[in-house]
Symmetry: C2
Subunit: 325 residues, 2 copies
DNA sequence: ATCCAGAAAGTTACCGGTATCAAACCTTGT
DNA sequence: ACAAGGTTTGATACCGGTAACTTTCTGGAT
């Protein structure tokens, strides 16, 4: 920057102003500065800028996994909002271990990001302390937590699971099985919603209807195997994981089970794939894109000093009824 | 940091050393410093560190899209290597527009990342100039470019497409159609490999066999519609895009076409889904994970000053023959 | 012509660390 | 006991910007 200043025959401060707030520098000088910038191929150093101004135009996004296309929409929502405003997005994966999330969060704070979006809602106490201590604005958006760190923009896993279970009951299914990923916090929350629904319906909670499976397509096949072996009376299966429902459908195909004749299948996430398999799978459509966009909005409001009227935003969900139920 | 130093009764320099190179500070002082750090809840400022040391522990990864699960493996490869070494990964999406990529690259350089991994191999001249001017180590890894910016770790799209086409010919298919995404640079390169193979086989290049489609499952359906309408003699379809082959398979199902009886289908990328649909789809298995891992390795070697024996690494590919061909 | 308010440009100090070199402190061999 | 040589620790400058304040220009109004 010194070089640019010398070349343009002005002070460093003027260069800084010409770049960050062009209006405040007179036409002539501004032109001299900008052409010097161009000639020298100068690239602004955001590091120094952030250090000096104590504010950064980088927003961090922490996701449980990047392997999962369900988060793509959220990323897009955040990114679409941020890009035109000159903010940059930094995405990181944190797995399901609170310890890993802690490390990722520490790294973000160490870099003094302007704000943070966390997909998870279960955080280690250390992480929470760091976040609150650092004063970084935070939005959580994978669920509606009982005790938010700062702001929230999400749907409720528990409510959504409850709604889908009631929907299946309304369609006349009597023995609704529920399959979730083992050791997955969101799966556990969804399971509560399923319980809520059964309780509302006055149905007993049969442990044979609750299935824990591994991730991916394989999980769906495991769920079907469980039903075949332990609970053949089940007439509907509600899969609380992304591709699990498709795996279950494929497995039914292999076994010659009619869907929904022998077993109805419903899915938690409305991946594009759900519309394309045959039969198309009934799904909960979650506001993934909206979550990203609103999270980013809330963050920017806070960063720019506007206090928020509603720091907890419930974006709801939608049941998409298709041929599989 | 000043507070920590005062509390421990040492100089700031000693604190810095106790944190970055504990060996170099004697037991007693180190303990005093570390407990002061803990008591004050001090979080290191990476911004200042990078600015001062002119080196950053952040690696940037630029992907065309995050919606696409094929990149997940690459992310994982990079991340697995980086994490234990204390480096952090920053992932960004750049679309297929060179202008967008340019903006993303500029932002990374402005933040003085330690190294950059680019998935694309078509870059605007401005981007190349910025990269070379800034001296940032770069690995390209979506293809083997004719004229690399710096280092490369990839497979060759052209070679892979050629190999699959020859494989289909070897299986006896006479009229092999090829479908690629419209306006996709990698699609165009793959198309060249398909041409190579036909030329080697001495078969004429029939323009009716080349199909341009839109992305997603829909593209596969379009390809089948094209074949039905324009080129019903085709007996095999080679899809040069991720989920396109599955879309094509579903469409065949809808039309009652036997796969591979009426039409064989082969895919470019070996998504997990390919194994689970029925029939399972023959695919090119690409070294996605390896690409990420080796890219990160190369980057770190360069960053740590080790010159590399082979700055262009061809990681090959593998044809996985399944029931669809 | 003089004065003055507001705009434009410059000065200085500091953001929070590390590089570099000098000073103080130990060992060890003779 | 002392010089030599290696380790620890400290002092100072600087990384590349911006905030806050000061000075210098402007262009009317008096």
């Amino acid at each position: 920057m010194r070089d640019v200043a010398e070349r343009a025959g002005v002070s460093r401060m003027t260069v800084s102003r010409a770049l960050n707030d062009p209006e405040s520098v007179k036409e002539g000088l501004r032109k001299r500065v900008l052409s010097a910038v161009y000639e020298l191929g100068y690239v602004h150093n955001h590091l120094a800028r952030s250090l000096s101004s104590r504010s950064s135009k980088v927003i961090g996004l922490v996701l449980p996994s990047l392997e999962n296309s369900i988060f793509a929409q959220t990323v897009k929502g955040v990114s679409d909002l941020l890009r035109p405003l000159g903010y940059h997005l930094m995405v990181t994966e944190c797995g399901n271990e609170p310890k890993d999330e802690e490390r990722v969060i520490a790294a973000f704070i160490a870099q003094r990001v302007g704000g943070l979006i966390l997909h998870g809602t279960h955080h280690s106490p250390v992480a929470v302390r760091m976040l609150q201590g650092s004063g970084t604005p935070v939005v959580e958006n994978g669920d509606i937590p009982a005790d938010p760190i700062d702001m929230v923009a999400s749907y409720s896993n528990r409510e959504a699971a409850r709604a889908m279970t009631l929907h299946l009951a309304r369609l006349g299914y009597q023995q609704i099985a529920f399959a979730a990923l083992a050791a997955n916090p969101r799966g556990a929350t969804r399971s509560l919603g399923y319980d809520d629904a059964l309780a509302e319906l006055g149905r007993p909670a049969d442990p044979r209807l609750k299935i824990e499976v591994s991730r991916g397509f394989a999980g769906g096949a495991e769920a079907i195997a469980h039903i075949a072996a332990i609970m053949p009376e089940a007439d509907a299966l509600f899969c609380a994981g992304d591709v699990m429902a498709v795996g279950a459908l494929f497995e039914c195909d292999r076994r010659g089970w009619k869907v929904p004749g022998r077993l109805a299948i419903a899915s938690f996430d409305d991946l594009e794939l759900m519309r394309h398999v045959s039969p198309a799978i009934t799904s909960l459509h979650l506001p993934r894109y909206e979550m990203g966009k609103r999270s980013a909005e809330m963050l920017l409001s806070r960063i720019e000093g506007r206090e928020l009227p509603v720091p907890v935003l419930d974006l709801g969900f939608e049941i998409v009824q298709r041929a599989s139920t």
